[in-house]
Subunit: 344 residues, 2 copies
C-alpha cells in the first residue's frame, strides 16, 4: 500500500530551527531547548514548539550542530578491502564499539595501495572525524603526524605504523606461525614449505619469522627454495605450489601464510603425494573439506574491538604512551596438518 509524501514537506526544502521558531512565535533558543529536551521551558510553550516541529516536519541537522560542538560523533576505518572476510569482521567489531559510544562509522578500502590509504585517511581527517583506525597499506605514516598533533587520535590495526610511534593492535603473527609450523614438525615433517605474501607487508614478514623460528628450534635447516613470498594471486601461488611440491626434493608439508594464499594453494595441490597443509587464517568451509583444513585462526572480532576501545580511550583523554597490543591466535587442527610425510 504505497502512500504519498506528506504535504508540508515540499521537495528539497528542509525547515530549520529558525522556521520552527517563527511558526511557534518563540525565539530560536527556545526551539533548541525543546529539541534537546532541556528543562526550563513552560509546558504551553514547549507544546506550541512541538506542534510547529510536527507541522513543518522539522528534523535537526546534526552536521550543523556538530560543527558548533567541535565533534563529529563519527570515526573512520581505513581497511584493505571491505569485501575480504577478515576486513569485514574487523569492521563489524569497530562498528559495534562505535555505536555503543554514539558514533557513526565511515569505512573505506585502500585496496592495499599506499596512496589510496593516504588519500582516504586525510579525507576523513578533513571531515574532522573524532578518531581514525587504519589498517596500513603503506609503510610511512608520517603524513598523519600533523593530524595526531592536532588532536585526532589514530590507532593502527593488523599492522603497525611506519615511521611514527602510535597505538597498534596486532595479531601474534610470529607466535601463530611458529605454532602451526611446530605442529607440522611434530607430525614428522622435515621439509616444510612456506608460501607467503609480499615481504614488505609486516604481517607476512612476522609469519615468516615464526616459521623460521620453529624450524630453528627443531634444529631443521630451511632451504631458501622452500620459502616463496610474493603477490597472493592464484597464478603466482599456483606456480609456487607446483615448484615446491615437484621433484625428488619436494616438501612434504606447506605452511600457507594467509587466507588468500591458502585458498589459491588448495586449488593447486597435487593429487598425488598431497602435502600436509596448515594455513594462517580460518576459512568458512574449512571444516567441511576432506581432510578438514588445519589453521592458525586470527580473531578479527577481538582485534577490531580492542582497536576501537583504544581509540575511545584516547578520545576520553588517555594520554599514556603509545602501546602495541597483541591478540593471540587460535590453533585449530582438523586433518590437513596431521597427514604424515609421504614417500619418505
Amino acid at each position: 500500500m504505497p502512500s504519498s509524501p506528506v504535504d508540508h514537506a515540499r521537495t528539497g526544502v528542509r525547515p530549520t530551527m529558525k522556521d520552527v521558531a517563527a511558526a511557534a512565535g518563540v525565539g530560536l533558543k527556545t526551539v533548541s531547548r525543546v529539541v534537546n529536551g532541556e528543562s526550563g521551558v513552560r509546558d504551553g510553550t514547549a507544546e506550541r514548539v512541538r506542534e510547529a516541529i510536527e507541522a513543518l516536519g522539522f528534523r535537526r541537522n546534526d552536521s550543523a550542530r556538530l560543527l558548533r560542538t567541535g565533534r563529529t560523533a563519527s570515526v573512520a576505518l581505513v581497511l584493505e578491502d571491505i569485501s575480504d572476510p577478515f576486513s569485514s569482521a574487523l569492521s563489524r567489531a569497530v562498528e559495534q564499539v562505535a555505536a555503543a559510544e554514539g558514533c557513526l562509522l565511515f569505512t573505506g578500502s585502500s585496496g592495499e595501495r599506499a596512496d589510496r590509504e593516504t588519500e582516504l585517511a586525510l579525507a576523513f581527517c578533513a571531515r574532522r572525524v573524532d578518531g581514525l583506525i587504519v589498517v596500513p597499506a603503506g609503510d610511512d605514516h608520517r603524513y598523519l603526524l600533523p593530524e595526531i598533533a592536532s588532536g585526532t587520535p589514530v590507532v593502527f590495526l593488523d599492522r603497525p605504523a611506519g615511521g611514527i610511534d602510535a597505538d597498534a593492535v596486532l595479531s601474534d603473527n610470529a607466535g601463530g606461525a611458529r605454532r602451526g609450523t611446530a605442529h607440522l614438525i611434530a607430525h614428522g615433517h622435515r621439509r616444510i614449505g612456506f608460501i607467503g605474501d609480499l615481504r614488505a607487508i609486516h604481517t607476512a614478514a612476522e609469519r615468516e619469522r615464526g616459521y623460521r623460528a620453529a624450524m630453528a628450534e627443531a634444529g631443521l635447516p630451511v632451504d631458501d627454495r622452500w620459502v616463496d613470498c610474493g603477490p597472493t594471486d592464484r597464478a603466482r601461488v599456483g606456480e609456487a605450489v607446483r615448484r615446491l611440491t615437484a621433484g625428488p626434493d619436494a616438501v612434504t608439508a606447506l605452511f600457507t601464510a594467509n587466507n588468500r594464499v591458502t585458498l589459491a594453494a588448495l586449488h593447486h595441490l597435487p593429487a598425488e603425494r598431497r602435502p600436509a597443509v596448515v594455513g594462517f587464517d580460518d576459512l568458512e568451509l574449512a571444516d567441511l573439506l576432506t581432510p578438514g583444513l588445519t589453521v592458525v585462526a586470527q580473531d578479527p572480532a577481538a582485534l577490531g574491538a580492542l582497536a576501537a576501545r583504544r581509540l575511545f580511550a584516547r578520545l576520553a583523554g588517555d594520554a599514556g604512551a603509545p602501546a602495541r597490543l597483541e591478540v593471540p591466535t587460535l590453533f585449530i587442527p582438523r586433518g590437513s596438518g596431521e597427514t604424515p610425510p609421504n614417500g619418505i
Copy 2:
C-alpha cells in the same frame, strides 16, 4: 625511526582560515581562493598565503565547508551485517561508485532488526548524507517519506521497501530458485526439500515461490512437510535436515535457500543416502568440497554498483518514476546437485 610531532601543531588546536589570513596579512576570502585553487590572486599574495598555511599546518575543515555548500559529499549504506560476505561485497561495490563520485561512505549494520535499521537510517539522514541505500530489515519504510520528500534520495537494495514506492535493486530470487530446483528435477529427483529463511523476509518468500513454480511446472506435488522456513541458526537448520532426510518418505534432494542455511545444512547432512544439494548463494570454498557444491550464485558486486549508480542518478536530478531493477543470478553446477536420487 619514530619522529616527533612538528612544533607548530600545538595539540588539539587546529588553525582556521582566519588564523591563516591573519598570519599572511590578507583577507579571509583570499585564503579561501588559494585553498580552493581559484584564479585571481596575485602570485606574491598566493605565495604568502601558502607559506602561512604551511607554517601553521592548516587543513581545511570539510565539514564546515560542506555546511555552507548544502551537501555533505557522503552517502550511507544500511546493511544486514557488514561481516556477512554478501553484505560486505555489496559495501565494496557501493564504495567504489561513491569514491568515483567524490563521496565518502558511512556503513551500518541493522543485525536484521527493524528498529535498528530505522535508528541508523534516520541518524544518517540527520547528518544530511546526500543519499541513502538501505537493505531492509523491517517491512514498513514510511518513516523515510519525510526524508525522501525533503530531497534525500533513498534506494533499497536486496529487498524492496515496504509501504512506500521507491527505487529497489533486487536479485532474480524466484528465477534463480526455480532454475536450481528444475536442475534437481532434471536429475531425476521428485521429492525435493526446501529449507529457507523466515517467510517474512522478501527474498526468502521469493525463493520459495521459485521452488514451487519449478515443481508445479514439472507436475510434481509439494508435500508441506518438505518445506521448512525459519531462523537460519545451525540448530534449527540441523533439525530441518534431520526431519526431511529421515524415514521412508525422506527427500532425495535439498534446496537450501541462502548461504547461512547451506552452511548449516552441510554440517548436518546424513552420511548415508546423502541427498543432492543445490544452494542459493555461492560460498568461498564451494568448489573444493567433495562433491563440489552446486549453487545459484548472486552477484553482489552488480547489485551494489547498480544501486549506487541509481542513487547518484537521483542526485543528478533523475526524477523518473521509482523503478525496480533486477539482477540475474548465475547457476553453477559443481557436483552436489547432480547426484541421482538414492534408494528409489
